[in-house]
Symmetry: C2
Subunit: 192 residues, 2 copies
DNA sequence: TCTTCATCGAACCGATCGGTACGATGATGA
DNA sequence: TCATCATCGTACCGATCGGTTCGATGAAGA
């Protein structure tokens, strides 16, 4: 049998699959660019199931953004920690994975920042603020390790380079080159 | 009499007023966040007039973005040129006006970049690309004047700082401080 | 076996949207 | 004076949207 009619699989599995599909399509076409009905059809679920899991479209969006923020943060953190304790090596590793990301054919900028741009409402603004805070924490650590005079400021400046590089990679076709330029500027900041 | 019923004023004046109102409300609430009917009501015009001037909502959006890009470019250029020929003074002037902008209570990031994020279609992407090109031209000029080794790269890095500072000012409540941090980093880049 | 529960699929709802059509109104220029 | 034109206001259209409801179906646990 292809798909069961009743309770098909693990409910948690269904929920995760919805999150995955929604994350992809929201990122590619925007939060208002895809409807609930189409989204449900794409994962073979019914609206009722979606609304039981997420309550509303905004609830789904919030869950999507939170999951994506967690995933990106883990990804960047892992790259930094795999590079060891040296500040230069860690920063190089971070912009290295960013460069990979920028080069993906479906890259469309930062999904969390993009979403907050489309929905000027509290939940989205809160999630993007926390997302940036986690970046900031990492960059401030790196700046501290590098022994710069004002690690907090250098952390903010590194974060600006990251976000700026993301915008240029998206809207100016720079791709990997954006990450390289940003890294070069970041290394200069670390040297003081 | 409050408002005339027939051809009220200069048609060009009506068009400009529509552009102004649309620019504001699209910026504050997003392209999909405001409908044509409400927009027309807010300027006391009829839908027929709007569609005669702009053809479609997308046509209106395109005109709004183009006008805003021109206005921002002129604003930044004027600030740079008023600062004289010195590279440091010019860069300081540019981030000075950016800091003012970031401090405005209704600041919501770069309207052109935001719009391109909401509409992944060609016209918007083209306008944002040209918008960034004009920034890049200015920053490359400044880098050249400063005598850095690779003015094109430094120009891109300065643009990243601008876009990154814009994102942080919007989503992290940094306001003017974002411009100051970005300027400090930019000055370091100009020194090589 | 019987009950409970998650699920599907489809119908349905009210609201809103972008866009069009039309009659009435008044300003402009011949 | 008369025709032209831009405009308003309103009604209307088809489509789409987020969200709800309901009967049928089947899996899991008592």
């Amino acid at each position: 049998m292809p798909v069961a009619k009743g309770s098909s699989l693990d409910p948690a599995r269904t929920r995760a699959e919805m999150l995955r599909a929604a994350s992809l399509v929201f990122y590619q076409r925007g939060l208002d660019g895809v409807g609930i009905a189409e989204l449900c059809a794409s994962v073979g679920a019914s609206k009722e199931t979606l609304y039981r899991h997420f309550g509303s479209k905004d609830g789904l969006i919030e869950a999507v953004l939170q999951a994506r923020s967690d995933r990106v943060n883990a990804w960047i953190r892992a790259a930094a920690e795999a590079a060891g304790d040296d500040a230069v090596a860690r920063l190089t590793a971070v912009f290295g994975v960013l460069g990979q990301w920028y080069s993906e054919p479906d890259f469309r900028g930062c999904a969390i920042v993009n979403a907050a741009t489309q929905r000027h409402v509290e939940p989205a603004r809160t999630i993007v603020a926390r997302h940036l805070d986690r970046y900031l924490e990492l960059f401030t650590e790196i700046a501290t390790t590098a022994g710069v005079a004002d690690p907090a400021r250098v952390g903010r400046q590194l974060l600006m380079l990251l976000e700026g590089a993301t915008v240029l990679a998206d809207h100016h076709g720079l791709g990997q080159a954006a990450a390289e330029d940003a890294l070069a500027a970041g290394l200069l900041l670390l040297k003081g």
